[in-house]
Structure formats: C-alpha cells, structure tokens
Symmetry: D2
Subunit: 301 residues, 4 copies
Amino acid sequence: MALSDDQKNQIAAQRESSAQTLRAVSPGMEERLYTAHEVLDHGFVRVIDYMGDDSAIVQAARVSYGEGTKHVSNDEGLIRYLMRHWHSTPFEMCEIKLHVKLPVFVARQWIRHRTANVNEYSARYSILDREFYIPAPEHVAAQSSVNNQGRGQLLEGEEAARVLEILKADSTRTYDNYEAMISDEGQQGLARELARMNLPTNIYTQWYWKVDLHNLFHFLRLRADSHAQYEIRVYAEEMCRIVADWVPLAYGAFEDYRLGGATLSARALDCVKKMLAGEDVTQEKSGMSKGEWREFRALID
Amino acid sequence: MALSDDQKNQIAAQRESSAQTLRAVSPGMEERLYTAHEVLDHGFVRVIDYMGDDSAIVQAARVSYGEGTKHVSNDEGLIRYLMRHWHSTPFEMCEIKLHVKLPVFVARQWIRHRTANVNEYSARYSILDREFYIPAPEHVAAQSSVNNQGRGQLLEGEEAARVLEILKADSTRTYDNYEAMISDEGQQGLARELARMNLPTNIYTQWYWKVDLHNLFHFLRLRADSHAQYEIRVYAEEMCRIVADWVPLAYGAFEDYRLGGATLSARALDCVKKMLAGEDVTQEKSGMSKGEWREFRALID
Amino acid sequence: MALSDDQKNQIAAQRESSAQTLRAVSPGMEERLYTAHEVLDHGFVRVIDYMGDDSAIVQAARVSYGEGTKHVSNDEGLIRYLMRHWHSTPFEMCEIKLHVKLPVFVARQWIRHRTANVNEYSARYSILDREFYIPAPEHVAAQSSVNNQGRGQLLEGEEAARVLEILKADSTRTYDNYEAMISDEGQQGLARELARMNLPTNIYTQWYWKVDLHNLFHFLRLRADSHAQYEIRVYAEEMCRIVADWVPLAYGAFEDYRLGGATLSARALDCVKKMLAGEDVTQEKSGMSKGEWREFRALID
Amino acid sequence: MALSDDQKNQIAAQRESSAQTLRAVSPGMEERLYTAHEVLDHGFVRVIDYMGDDSAIVQAARVSYGEGTKHVSNDEGLIRYLMRHWHSTPFEMCEIKLHVKLPVFVARQWIRHRTANVNEYSARYSILDREFYIPAPEHVAAQSSVNNQGRGQLLEGEEAARVLEILKADSTRTYDNYEAMISDEGQQGLARELARMNLPTNIYTQWYWKVDLHNLFHFLRLRADSHAQYEIRVYAEEMCRIVADWVPLAYGAFEDYRLGGATLSARALDCVKKMLAGEDVTQEKSGMSKGEWREFRALID
C-alpha cells in the first residue's frame, strides 16, 4: 500500500479547502489535485499544483505571433501547428508540480532530465521508511538477447521465485542493519548520511518535481516509450493520463506528433518516395545499416 | 499612456471571471492579477499567473529535510534559514508569469538571464506599434567619470533639450520610414522581418516572461541594485513590490540577506576582525586594491 | 569589409603561436582557428577554441553503454545510432567557442537559444562602431503572401532602391546623432547606456558564444532551415561548414537525420502505410488540416 | 586500489601521444591530463579535456566591457574585479571534462547540480564491478547532536568495528546475489536493469562530467565547504587542487571571495557598524535568531 491512513486523511483535508482565484483553472486538474495515483507496489504520483491550461498556450503564442496567427482558425489547430513546427516556448508557459514516490534506481534515471526543479527527501536529515520495490512476478524477466539494455522473456517459475526471494531477503537484511547502525540505544548511533549507503536502490524515496509542459513532453516521449524500462514507464504513463486531463488539446497534439510519430532520415524519406513510385528498394541500396533498415521497415510495414 | 481603452476593458473582464480552486492561493497576488503596473513612459508589468506561496516553500523544504526541520519553530525562521544557507531548491517551487512591455534595449539586458521562459512579440509576423521610450528630463544624464558603465551628473538645460529633440526626431523619422517600407499601397511592401531593422532600440516590445522564485530573486538582486541601469531598475523595483505581496516571508528574507546584505572576502573578514580587536588597518596592509578597499569602507562606515 | 588591418594582423599572430598538447586535436579545426569567415556585409564567424572531436563522442558513449556498444562495429555506426535514437549526452561532450560579429536584430533571434554561454560587447561601457547591415539588392524582398513570417518575391527596381536609400540614410543619421550626443566636446556628453538606444537594430554587435555540440545541432537544425530568416541562416550555414570539418562523422549523421530528415505524425505514418498498400488517401480521409496535408505531400512527392 | 594495470597502461599511452595545437594551453593542466588522482578507497578524478585558461577569462571580459576595462591594469586585478562583482559570464568561457569514479550515494548528491553534461556508466547495459566504498575507521562517526544533517564524534572501538563489519558483509552478500541473479549458467539470467536494484549505494559508478568554470566554482563552494558530507568533500578538494593548476588567477580570486568569504545580511552589517562604533550589540538587539547570531559571531570572532 502506497499510503498510510495519516496521508489519506491529509489528502482528504487538502481536497476540502477550496478558494476563489482569478487565475486560469483546469477542471480536469482540479479533479486530480492532491490525490495519490498509485504506481508500482508502494509508489505514487500526485499533483500538488499547476499553472495554465490549453488557453495559456494559445495566449502566449498569440503574443509572439500577433496577428500572424489569425489565419489559424481555432485553438486546436494553432496548438497542432505549434507542436508540428517545434515551437516550444508557448508550451513552456504551463507548469506542473508533482509529488512522486519512487524507487531510488528509478529516481536515478529520472533526475537525468535536468530542466526541472526538485526537492528530494534527504536521508542525511531523516530516516528512510522500510519500503522496497519488489517486482510482481509478471515483470521478472531475463536479459534480452537482442537488445543490450532491455528485458527478454519472463523468467520461468523456479528462477523467478529465487530472484524474488533474494530481493526480499536482501531488502529485509540491509534495512535491519540500517536500523541497527543508526540506533542510539546502548550505543552512539551511526550518522544517517553514512548508514543510508547500506540500502539497495529498490528502496523508495520521494520528491517534489516541478517542470514546464514542454520539458515534461520531452520526458514523456522518452520515458513512455516502449524501450524505456518498465519501472519508469509506468510513472510516465500515469503522468500521460494526468496531462491528458490537464491540457487535452496539447496532449492530443503530443500523442499524434511525438508519441505516435517518428523521425525519418533523409535516406529513409528517399526510400519512401521511391517505394511510392513503385521502385523496389532494398537495404543494400538504401544506404542504411541492417539495424536501421529493420527499424525503418517496422515503421512503415 | 501604457494602455489603450481596449486593453483596459480586457483587464477588467479578466478580473471579473473568478473560479474555485484547490490550489494554494496568495491573497496579495489575487489583488494584483492582470492589472498593469505602469513603468517608464509606455511600459508595464502585469501578473498573468502564479504558482505557490510562502507555504509552498516551507512544504518543499520539509519534504527535503524531513524531521530535520522540526527544530526550526516557524515558517519565517525556516525560510530565513533556507535563504541564509543558500538552499535554493525550495524557492524554485514557486513560479510567476508576467506580461511585460519594455523598450528593446532593456529587453536585450533582461534576456541575458537565461533560466526563464519567454514568448516575445514577433516583428517578423506582426507590425510594431509607434511607441518609443523618451526619458524624462530628470533621467538624461552624462557619462559617469568614475564608473565606465554608468551615468554621472544630469545634463544641463540646453544639452538635455538637444538630446530629447534628437531622440524624438529619430524615433519619428525611423518609424515613418518603417511604415513607408512595409506599406503595400502602390508598391509590393518590404517584408516585416527586414523593415524592423530600421527601428531604434528605444521602441517598445512586449513578452510573457515566466520564472521561478529562486531565479527571479537572482534577477532582482542584480537589477534592483543601484548599479543597474535606471531603465531596467524601475522594472525590477516594481517586481520587488509584487513579490513582497506574493511571498512576504521569502521577500523579507531576500531583502535582509541579498538586497541589503553584502559578501565579504576572506581579506575583508580578516580586516573586520582586526578592526574589532582595535587594530589599525590600512589599505596597504589589507591586501586589497584601492578600488576594493573603497568598496569595503563604503560597506562598514 | 568585416576586418580591419589591425584585426588581420592579430589573427595572423594568433595563428603563429602553436604549442604541444595531450588533448584530442581536430585537424579540420586547427586549420580554421581564429580565421574570420565573412558573413553578410560586415559580419564574421571565427573559431576561438574547441573541445573534443568525433572520438570524444564515441568515448563518452562507450563509458555510458559499456560493453553494450561492442556490437556496433565502428565509430560511424555508433554515432549514427546515437543520433537516430536521440541519445544527446555523448554529443554534449564536445564544445566550441565562437567569436561572432552580427547585426543586433540577428543577435536578438540568436540569444533565444538559452543553453549557451555568451559575452557580448557592451554598449554601456564602450562605443559602437559605425557599421550597419544593408542588404544586397538580391535579398530585398516583399512580405510573403502565403507565410506570415517570411519573405516573398524580390522587390522590383525602384521600390528596392527606395528601401536601400532609407536604410542607409537612417543608419547614417542615427549614428551621426549618436556620436553627437556622446561627444564631450563643448558639452557634458550623454551617457553611453542612453545614447545607444538611438541606434537601429541593423547596427553590428559582437560576442563570444560557447555551446556544446548537441545544443549547437539544435540551433543549426532550426536556423539552417529554409524557413529561417536569411540573415541568420547564412551564419548557420557557415557554422555547418565549420562543424563538418570539426566532427565529420557527427555532422554526417546530423545531416541525414536532422537537416535532411523529417518527423511524421501518427496520422502521416498511417497515410504512408496505406499509400504503400495501394490505397488512395486524401486530405479529407487523413485527419490532417489542409496546411498539414500540403506539408506532408511536399515531403513525400 | 582505484586502477587496474590495464587502466594504468591506457593512461600511460594517452599521456604519450602529443600533438600541436593553436588553442590556448594551460601548462598546469597538461601535467595532469588523464592521470587518475585517487579519492576514497576506490575512486578517482581525472582530467580528460579542458578549454581555456586565465587569459580566456580576461579575453572574454575585454570583449564585453571593451575599453571600459582598460583602467584595470592587469589580468589578476581584472579577474578579481569580475569575481567580486559577480560577473559570471567570463568564467563560463572555460570548460573542463572530468572522468570520475565515485560511490552511488555521492553521485546522487553530485547530480543535483544540473548545469553540467554527464555520461554515466549504465547498469542497464553493463555489469557493475565488485567495488564498494567502506569508510576508513577515522571517518565512521555518529549522528551529530547539534546539526541534523551532519556527523558528530567518532564511533568508539567496538561500535565502529560492528558498523564496518555490517557494511562489508552486506556489500559482499548483495553483490554475490547480483552475480547469481544475472548469471546465465543453468538458468535464463535476470535482466541487468532489474538485478542492479539489489546493490547498495556504496557501490562505485563512474561518469564523464563536463562543466564550465563558473558552475564548477558554484559546485566547489557548496561541496568543498566544511558542512558538506566528507565523502563528496574529498572529491571537491581534489578538484580545487586541479583548478588551482588550471586557472591560478581565477582560483585565487575564488578562494578569497567565495571559499574564504562570507555573506553578511543587512542586520549583520548593521551590527558590524555598531560594533566598530564601540556600541555594545547583543543577540536580542540584533534582530537575529539565536542560530543566526551564533553563526555571525563565529564569522567575526
């Protein structure tokens, strides 16, 4: 369970205190504010605050392009135009602040996206909770034999059980030892900043993460992708659902042009043209490597 | 006059449509939202949106430092502690979006602060208005003889009048020519992206500018400083008043530690200690250059 | 002429003082170092320093991906793989520092790319030179009737002559007045920080601009594009030639995947598949707007 | 030992292949290039590349400030002036690329500095080595009783021995289990991206880290500070020695104004003035909290 009763009560309290504002309000986000959307076995994503909505994107674009945007008849058309032509600044006018609870090894990937603001729970100051990510059996998979960074087939029964047993036992033992080291009962008690290093990276941490919509889309394009590691992808997918409620027009354009779209190289475009003209194109003639050709065929077949 | 009747009506309309929100609300900002605060002869600053308040800073700090912050008894003490110890991330949890109208030469300085989001009015798409910054007579000053980048004494009567005459005449003529070049009456009409280059940098532009509180404080420390050029300083000062209403505790700490504070070098600290011990300290003995010594004495005398 | 005799002598001197280094050296860049490549009527781009080469990209990738990259047999294949899969960090390991002289209205577009380091000539401290961009007659074009931000047909004889006359006359007059205002002969002399605002944005400025290769590619993709304004595009094109000499493998991949490539939306990919299957696809059935359909057909026809 | 024989041979080879360059060369850095400077029990810092030297800072400043800098007679004076007045852009003109091997819990602190380029060893692709940070007995300390995030007294004999025993045993066991899980002998073998999460954060990782001098100074000010955790501070201190060899003038200014300097608040400055005037100042009268007053007294006593 991701949430204690205390936390549930706190969220209920936050959702009860409403106020008047003159700012742009997104009804879809008001529905979601503060609520914890559970991810993995102990994690969650919750929206703490947001700024702007689809109209804020349009408004900023119209400041920039002035009367030049008048020929685009409606908000959806304008937003699709901006997305298609890589006009990033209007999307930067929206901002979201999330509270995320996630395993440390996921946090390590996530933080590589630098254009965001972060306040993480500090294990120098405070004691970490005994909460570890243990994958569900249907996600315990072998190293892929075709992709050096991915997973392949599921582990079969006995091996999967062995792995889960190890993960649980090591989590328990290292946490027991963490507690034993920091305890000041009958001893001085090791400094937290040292004791924490005994904990494996499937332990959960949490942070406030604040990012603008343009950079969030960039994050989601990489992390909601099928090649992303499952454990970060489920966070990205949950965030996709949140963004769809927040800025439905922008999310629709993102889905069409980024998530569902693909970039073709000059060589690939040339092949498409030839194929459309009825020419027979082969990998050898294409100028592409075998791997690239395979990716290209997967796109258009 | 900074605002047309159209704009005033639009602002009045924006201030009338209120809605319920579960987000943090800053009463001081709700008072200010959309209203144009006039700066210079045709410029303004208006708040379009904001995220967070003093409590959001405290909330983020308590996530980071957990129980470690409990010994700081109240919000003001915690915010002052964060500011004093250069903990920047909690301040990044607040965000503001401004609509600013400003002369191009001011915009050129302003944009050097890179950690912000900007949508500027585009003179490639749209036609600039005939609005130029002409300084009030009490700001028409001579080159400083002591400071290579600053202003010295006010220009005296006739010279000041001559300067103002030149600025007005050149603004008028270049704008007349701008209009003549882009006009398509009886001619093709020059492309806007070319015609705009005939306009001097005292013409006004406008943009949406969005920034987090930490980076805004950095901007204000440099631009509300007495060494900043007057024409950008008046914008910074207006923004200081806005921020004081938005996050009064954070602004108070900023005023004490940044705007009113000063950094002493190791050499300067050493001199202070010696002086407090009754020792006679001179520039020669201090290890400081003459200029540095002058600045040091100005701080402590 | 972009360069004075003084500057030419200085460059010759810089090119004569060579030293030993253990760092990665790019022969193509050593050829170019310090030399001014002329752009527009008074502008230039010159390489002041660089860090890394194609091997540095490969080296960083191999640190990240470890043995996982061994299956990619050679440097070119690996670099193409990185570019194709949007792995940006290895490209960030190369850095370039340029000295650029450019008109202010070009500088205003350029600075919008925030992920770079900039030191610009300050007209608060120093006096600007009398150098203005006056377009060659073959670039004096009318506002486009199909594209709100672009140029259309060339202006015809008399109108073009009139435009050039205006640009020259206003440049001369505003600069004469600038000089008159700052002069301290027989008067106090206006502060430079004020006088500069009388100058139009076709005056030249200069700066040191330092950027990593990933962000430079992003800049070049947008600014070497045919939709970019001619006056910034010529700088981007000059920089493309420089980068091609610096990191030939990376530049080749950039040309194929970015400059010559294109992003297809999910809808567009779907159309391509249908067309390859012999289906008749129309704009109406595609789900695309007219403008989008036109762009799509231009890509594949 | 931080380095294998293979690595030592590779470094020796790198140090033997020298070439001519026209770029700025820093003799102090050429001495250091590629050599591994050992930190902690298995870590190191080595310089892979650098751009610029003290002269490059001066050169950039003189572009910005033009003739305005002529009154500052020499390079050292100018660099000290820039540092004192927070002119950050000239320092951004220098860049350094380091190869660092460090424990994961240190890497997690380090990466919070976002304005740098990073390529980290990927445990999704590759297998981590069996190398763990085990503190030397003289660094095994108790939680501080006065500072919530720091260490206090050393642990006494038996407790320290117990802690070291736990850290070693848990490192060994979790790594044994890591190997057992990924092994494909007689089983499928768990995906690396999953198995890695069983490893505690005292395991070593490595990365290429590239940063400009301004942001490096910011990092060093925070991490070479006495309040920084010992395990990151030793890296910062090693980097301080490197920077001192690279840009001796800039480092000298940094040491005086940042490392050895201190920021006084308006209230603190006011107290200093009163004390210098012979007035008796107390915490109560100062407007400072008790903690703040204690810090203030520590600075000036």
